[in-house]
């Protein structure tokens, strides 16, 4: 069992003393309670030194009690679950928690990198821009790697994240950020009005500052009001309270991003559960009650462990019953800071002194001081004396010039409060300055959003409640809900008076951005060098760019810039606020979509049959397609593919081509419509016939090709390439709905309705006759080349047959309704056994199309014209079609264009590779003689050598010319002959026979 919690109060707080938890920090065992954060548990155990700073490796403690924490960052968990830069102030304690400090070596107490502090005079803002330039090669070899190693804070796991994430949508009338008094009041008003409400609270407990500061609401203690309010909200059916959920961004159309830490409070997520969930919340209205962040005052040594925000100290004492110090000093410039004195005294702590920068302190506070026996010093803290073990002494500049020293082991600081204006500013809005609280407050907000309470610069409890309540009621009304909101919760407003104080001049480093080690003098230097714009300031000094997003530092930084440049703070302005409000795990944004679930997978109707056959699959877009079907004894893919090609050319084979896009084009104007989208004519296609078609983009380049059949007077069946199925459908709908709305035509995708197979080879008819009803005439006369019609199959189902050929063989494509696809392949195998029927994959398909000189994806590259592909004659001159005019531009009809041509190595044993470039024989390759490249290659079993297609300058005029294939990437070069792209059966007798 770990040691006693020396700094834990015996009573009070919201921790569960009956549920003790063990945890380890830097290998040492400690104990805490359920309800602790890691930070509160460390404080309870007297741990002050928690981390080291980014640049100077200065010892750092715990500054805050929330997500604004710049210093207390740890590596949480271990192994694959190690999470760098985790804020101890928001990490919930769980049994067995392991955390380690970061950015130190060899240990947190003895960090040798602290030697950097010696170089601090040189390591000022932007120093690296001015040096490390000589000698030039040293930058990459020495300087940069050193900088990289020094930079960064924690270490990522370095191995795959084992946890799961998911994403979900939610919808509501009123979305509320924050469960403090303003947020709860808004939820009550909106919920009672009948609105659908979602309230997001980043903490694991609801109540916001009520949990630390208490108060009296509706004449009852805040805790009692809180539990009643929560009970009432829980009873409302359409109010959803989401704890551990941070609203991090606002996007267009009332869409909000939120991250729910579903299971981060456990060692690991329970089985079947996710670690975190990303929420996309669609809300008609949003009430931002995200509170305010107390801001530090910049003075020398303000980063010493033990210097803490005054409100954070109250939180640790009141909510967690953990005492950060025994003898506390307070440095404040406002009334609110004094509440820490009351809380500390209530918990039995000693008050060393209160340093109040305001000229006057109220009589009540003076009497509290005399009762508590501590001095009230009028002035400012000039320096803190201390180190890694915490604060020892505080030196104070008294108003009038005298100095004083105070012995204390903790210093609470309150420089006022900055409303959390980020959410209201994410649409590039800039907040406005409000003098009485010396802070930026929202100036408008994205549509539908309103800020209330402290987030709107209203700090009194009563005002927070009434403003939140009114906003909740209004938001419900705006969303169309008319129920009664009931009575507004009532409380008194505390006094709030503040004298702005940003920076106390003094000797020693005074930190503005503690995490990035940006000091007040860095800001002065930036101003001197002309980086006066706040965005330049941020980028030059890195102010506010650390993991805390400058929540405690930005306003102080620009206030100091304003002072040194002689401008006012509002003139100086703020930087742009950028989401997310808190850093969000990349895994959460990905959700389910990782590993094999990255994208959907489409399976063809014969997929599972092919898998049974041991097919190798290839990813084609989202599809898995059988690439080849290996058989025992084959030594590599080429063996298998060659066998498949030979089987087709010598007998019969079949291939699943269901991946082609298939579109039903219906309607009286279907033919006229197709005439507009294809370069050739379809209106004159006879019923029962198919035709190859080519479509262009409006810029004249080839878009897609495919075979389209006319099944009835008013019904065409159009096919697209696999890759373009979706885009062509979209394009055709554009033509139908936008370009040519006068046509009566209807389009439907039927891609998934039909299982389609190509059956090819000289024995195709033999096989088909086994499967097609004997009454169907499959003879050349009865079913000629490019015929297309419905036929009956044996056993009573209907199919469509298309006599088209991609392979150059006698071939048909057959399609059956998709649920019969599996049966069809099994029947083909059974019926085809006597003919040696061979299933073939996409590789063999590709070999045969190259042998036949058909263009495909590599040639349809989006930069080729119909003429480039050798299909220029298809372009009708008698009609308008998409792309007609632009295809005639001078550079698209230039004689020296690269056009499709056949390519074969002069040495039959030589391999040809796609991507090799074509250079005139005997010339030295250079940009001036780079005449094209090889687009597609295959080993042709038919020609017994590698062959290919290429796009080559004036290629078709040069058939027979020997040129050089230059492939320096693969260290190859060889001579090739430009040839007719139709390598196989150029007369086409086989496919027509």
């Amino acid at each position: 069992m770990a040691g006693v919690q020396a700094n834990r109060l015996a009573n009070g707080g919201l921790i569960d003393r009956s549920d003790p938890l063990n945890f380890r920090f830097d290998g040492k065992s400690f104990a805490g309670f359920q309800g602790d954060t890691l930070a509160s548990a460390l404080i309870a155990n007297g741990v002050k030194l928690v981390g080291r700073s980014f640049k100077y490796h200065r010892p750092r403690g715990i500054l805050s009690a929330g997500s604004e924490e710049p210093n207390a960052l740890v590596e949480l968990r271990s192994g694959a679950r190690r999470e760098p830069n985790t804020k101890a102030t928001t990490a919930e304690l769980y049994e067995g928690l392991e955390a380690a400090s970061q950015n130190r070596w060899p240990s947190l107490r003895h960090d040798l990198m602290a030697v950097n502090q010696l170089f601090a005079p040189i390591f000022v803002a932007g120093f690296y821009y001015k040096t490390f330039m000589w000698p030039a090669k040293f930058w990459e070899a020495i300087y940069e790697p050193t900088i990289r190693r020094a930079a960064g804070l924690g270490r990522a796991a370095g191995i795959p994240d084992p946890d799961h994430y998911d994403k979900a949508w939610a919808h509501c009338d009123v979305l509320i950020a924050g469960s403090g008094p303003a947020g709860l009041a808004a939820a009550l008003a909106a919920g009672r009005s009948g609105a659908r409400v979602i309230l997001c609270e980043e903490d694991f407990a609801l109540g916001g500052r009520l949990l630390s500061d208490g108060g009296t609401i509706d004449s009852m203690p805040a805790a009692e009001w809180l539990s009643r309010a929560l009970a009432e909200l829980a009873a409302l059916p359409d109010v959803r309270i989401m704890t551990r959920t941070t609203l991090f961004g606002v996007y267009d159309g009332g869409t909000y991003g939120a991250i729910e830490r579903v299971n981060d409070h456990l060692p690991s997520p329970p089985e079947h559960q996710v670690r975190q969930r990303l929420w996309r919340i669609v809300a008609k209205r949003c009430v931002v009650a995200a509170g305010a962040i107390e801001r530090p005052i910049v003075f020398a040594g303000n980063d010493t462990p033990g210097v803490m925000m005054a409100s954070a100290m109250r939180t640790y004492v009141a909510r967690y019953a953990a005492t950060p110090a025994k003898r506390v000093a307070l440095f404040t410039n406002n009334e609110d800071g004094w509440r820490t004195v009351e809380t500390a005294l209530g918990a039995g702590l000693q008050i060393a002194a209160v340093v109040d920068a305001r000229p006057d302190v109220s009589a009540a506070h003076r009497s509290l001081a005399s009762k508590g026996g501590f001095p009230v010093l009028n002035g400012s803290v000039a320096a803190v004396d201390g180190g890694r073990d915490g604060v020892r002494k505080i030196s104070v500049s008294l108003t009038g010039g005298a100095r004083a020293e105070v012995e204390a082991d903790g210093l609470a600081v309150s420089g006022g409060w900055n409303p959390a204006v980020a959410l209201t500013s994410y649409h590039r809005g800039r907040p406005k300055w409000q003098d009485d609280i010396a802070a930026f407050v929202p100036d408008g907000a994205p549509p539908g959003m309103v800020a209330v309470g402290a987030a709107n610069g209203v700090f009194g409890l009563g005002a927070c409640l009434s403003q939140g309540f009114a906003a909740g009621a209004q938001a419900a009304r705006d969303a169309g809900r008319s129920g009664k909101a009931g009575l507004t919760p009532v409380a008194e407003d505390e006094a709030f008076s503040l004298n702005p104080l940003w920076h106390v001049a003094g000797k020693g480093k005074a930190f503005v951005d503690q995490q990035h080690d940006v000091t007040a003098s860095d800001i002065e230097l930036a101003q001197r060098e002309g980086f006066e714009s706040v965005e330049h300031l941020k980028r030059y000094t890195t102010l506010g760019m650390a993991t805390d997003q400058g929540k405690t530092s930005n306003v102080a930084g620009l206030a100091i810039m304003a002072a040194v440049s002689g401008k006012s703070i509002p003139e100086t302005g703020t930087t742009i606020y950028r989401p997310p409000y808190v850093p969000v795990a990349i895994g959460a944004f990905a959700g389910h979509h990782r590993d094999e679930n990255f994208h959907a997978t489409r399976l063809t109707p014969s997929h599972h049959w092919a898998a049974e056959q041991g097919a190798i699959f290839v990813d084609t877009g989202l599809w898995k397609r059988a690439q080849w079907y290996p058989r025992a004894g084959e030594k590599d893919w080429l063996d298998s593919v060659t066998r498949e090609v030979k089987a087709v050319r010598g007998g019969v084979g079949f291939c699943d081509v269901s991946t082609l896009g298939k579109i039903d084009v219906h309607g009286p104007d279907a033919g006229a419509f197709l005439d507009r989208v294809y370069i050739n004519t379809f209106s004159n296609l006879a019923v029962g016939k198919a035709r190859y078609g080519l479509m262009l983009r409006e810029d004249g380049m080839v878009y897609d090709d495919g075979t389209t059949s006319r099944l009835a007077e008013d019904h065409y069946f159009l096919t697209t390439t696999t890759a373009k199925a979706g885009p062509v459908m979209q394009h055709l709908e554009f033509c139908r709905q936008v370009l040519f709305p006068e046509f009566d035509v209807q389009l439907t995708s039927v891609s998934d309705q039909w299982a389609q197979f190509s059956i090819a080879g000289p024995k195709t008819r033999d096989l088909l006759r086994e499967i097609v009803d004997p009454g169907e005439d499959l003879s050349n006369e009865g079913f000629p080349f490019m015929g297309a019609r419905e036929v009956a199959l044996r056993g009573g189902i209907k199919a469509r047959l298309f006599r088209i050929s991609f392979s150059g063989e006698m071939a048909f494509e057959i399609s059956v309704p998709a649920r019969y696809g599996d049966a069809l392949v099994r029947n083909l195998m059974q019926a085809g056994a006597p003919f040696g029927v061979t299933p073939y994959g996409t590789e063999a398909l590709g070999v045969m199309r190259i042998e036949k000189g058909h263009v495909a994806g590599p040639e349809l590259s989006g930069t080729t014209t119909a003429a480039d592909l050798g299909l220029g004659k298809m372009m009708s001159t008698k009609k308008d079609f998409v792309g007609r005019i632009m295809a005639g531009r001078e550079a698209l009809v230039a004689p020296n264009r690269q056009v499709v041509v056949g390519i074969k190595p002069t040495d039959k044993a030589s391999r040809l590779r796609s991507g090799a470039h074509i250079i005139p024989k005997g010339e030295i390759p250079g940009p001036g003689n780079d005449q094209g490249y090889v687009t597609s290659v295959c080993f042709s079993p038919t020609l017994d050598q590698w062959i290919g297609l290429g796009l080559v300058e004036r290629g078709r005029e040069r058939i027979g010319e020997i040129v050089h294939a230059h492939d320096p990437l693969r260290g190859e070069g060889y001579d090739v002959e430009l040839c007719n792209p139709v390598f196989y059966d150029p007369e086409g007798g086989r496919q027509r026979g």
């Binding site: 649409h427 979706g726 040519f740 531009r889």
Partner: protein, 91 residues
């Protein structure tokens, strides 16, 4: 972004595909190269309210004409393309 499809109601951005400015009209068949060049390539590229073509491909497959402010992304009007919902033409 949420788009109120005139047929489907309010839907998430992810269901839609963007094409571009809806102002350029496809020239007549005899308009000549200059006119088609202008249609295909030149854009006002308005910083402010513009009319655009979007496709509800993840929904009802209608092409829509959307009036949207490119500075704020605010959508002020959505109407179907001329040929979407054509069954009601003349009805």
């Amino acid at each position: 972004m949420r788009i109120v499809c005139p047929f489907c109601g309010e839907r998430e951005l992810g269901e839609f595909t963007y094409l571009g400015d809806a102002k350029p009209q496809r020239p007549a068949a005899d308009a000549g190269e200059d006119a088609v060049y202008d249609y295909v390539y030149l854009r006002d590229n308005i910083a402010g309210v513009m009319s655009e073509h979007w496709y509800h491909g993840g929904g009802c497959r209608s092409w829509l004409k959307i009036t949207r402010n490119t500075l704020t992304h605010e959508i002020s009007a959505v109407e179907p393309a001329a040929g979407a919902g054509a069954a009601k033409v003349g009805a």
